[in-house]
């Protein structure tokens, strides 16, 4: 995760539900009302890059209140967590957030939620195996009588796994692409060896 990492920047744009703890006259626009002051207790969805710092910044308040408090986004809400516990492969993570794991790890840095790390870890491990399986299958089918260019774009390839592959988050997509390219290169290399 570097400063210039495009995916990290996009992950930081994911919004989480926040509640303002004080009245701020100039920030009404955050709640779609630029002419009104923002009242304490107002709930707004703020991107991570804003929410995180507002939540942890030192406000100088004698009671130690922060500017905002925040909750877990719906992508990590109870419904999703329960579904992931039941079967990680059945949940299209992409519909929850295109950067599901990035969002989850970021949130884990901010809140101490006991069961979240375990669920997310288990989700990744289970799904990664499935991703690898699909990647290898496509690599094997694809290299028979197809050009390299056709094989290159394989997301959305028809078949049983299509629905699962559509639901991959960005990180899993990368993993899929790497696994697929790896399987393909390995195959090509083997064929080359046989020829010479």
């Amino acid at each position: 995760m570097s400063y210039y990492d495009i995916d990290a920047i996009l992950t930081d744009a994911e919004k989480i539900p926040c509640t303002f703890q004080l009245d701020v006259p100039d920030l009404g626009y955050l709640d779609n009302a630029p002419t009104q002051p923002l009242k304490a207790g107002t709930k707004v969805n703020l991107p991570l890059w804003l929410a995180e710092m507002l939540a942890i910044a030192n406000t100088g308040d004698p009671e130690g209140r922060s500017f905002v408090t925040f909750d877990l986004p719906s992508a990590l809400g109870n419904d999703v967590i329960q579904a992931l516990k039941a079967d990680p492969r059945a949940v299209p993570l992409r519909d929850q957030s295109p950067h599901f794991y990035g969002l989850a790890t970021h949130m884990m840095d901010l809140v101490s939620e006991d069961k979240l790390p375990e669920v997310v870890r288990n989700t990744f491990v289970t799904r990664a195996a499935e991703v690898a399986l699909h990647a290898r299958k496509l690599g094997g089918v694809g290299s028979r009588g197809r050009t390299a260019a056709e094989e290159g774009s394989n997301l959305g390839f028809g078949g049983a796994g299509e629905e699962f592959l559509r639901g991959l988050d960005e990180w899993e997509r990368k993993l899929f692409r790497k696994a697929h390219d790896g399987a393909k290169s390995g195959k090509e290399w083997m064929e080359n060896i046989r020829k010479h």
Partner: protein
């Protein structure tokens, strides 16, 4: 309701798409300008907010103002990161193109012929090049740097192919007039549609640049 940082995000989404393309889509002049304008506006707001305090601002005393200042500051910082990441993605791509020996004018031509990127970003430069003038400079100067660096070694071509050649000599067809080149075996005049049996090492760059086509 648009919010500070939304435009910067758009820019980064462009960068994300760029990463997966072989060519460089048009530079988002308008978007870059809009994001920098946003930073200037925010900076003006900050100055106006701090003005009445005459340099003795106490955040604990004016929490609401402190909060607004923090939001403005973070928005500026966010925009800066988006701008830098966008340009860095593009310069990375430019450097890659220089190393591959891709001719940038050729690329602009290919894009006009209907590359996928040409459609997705109609608000970029409508002219021949998809680069900003600064990027063209960067491309040229990086090319010069690479040439100077490569000049240290006369017996090895740093940008040559990493694949060991199977045959020392190959058949090539000339796709575009490339003028006369010097080889160990004398000069060859490369005129369009002619065919030659040449040493691979002599013409590798011309193949990469699209002047010659390898046969067989």
């Amino acid at each position: 309701m648009p919010m500070y940082g939304d435009l910067g995000n758009k820019l980064v989404q462009h960068a994300k798409r760029t990463q997966n393309l072989a060519h460089l889509p048009p530079y988002q002049t308008e978007l870059v300008r809009a994001v920098t304008r946003e930073v200037r506006d925010l900076d003006r707001d900050v100055a106006a907010l701090l003005e009445p305090f005459q340099g003795s601002f106490d955040p604990a005393e004016h929490q609401a103002t402190a909060c607004t200042l923090l939001v403005n500051h973070l928005s500026m910082r966010r925009n800066k990161r988006c701008l830098l990441a966008y340009h860095r993605t593009r310069t990375d791509k430019l450097e890659e193109l220089v190393w591959n020996g891709t001719d940038i004018l050729d690329m602009a031509g290919a894009q006009q012929a209907g590359g996928p990127g040409a459609v997705s970003a109609p608000d970029g430069a409508a002219g021949s090049s998809s680069l900003s003038p600064q990027e063209e400079d960067y491309f040229r100067q990086y090319g010069d740097l690479l040439a100077a660096y490569k000049g240290h070694w006369t017996d090895i071509d740093l940008t040559g192919s990493l694949e060991p050649p199977r045959d020392l000599f190959i058949d090539v067809r000339v796709l575009k007039d490339a003028g006369e080149i010097q080889t160990e075996y004398g000069a060859i005049n490369l005129t369009k549609n002619s065919q030659f049996y040449v040493r691979q090492g002599d013409v590798e760059r011309l193949i990469a640049q699209g002047y010659l086509q390898k046969l067989g």
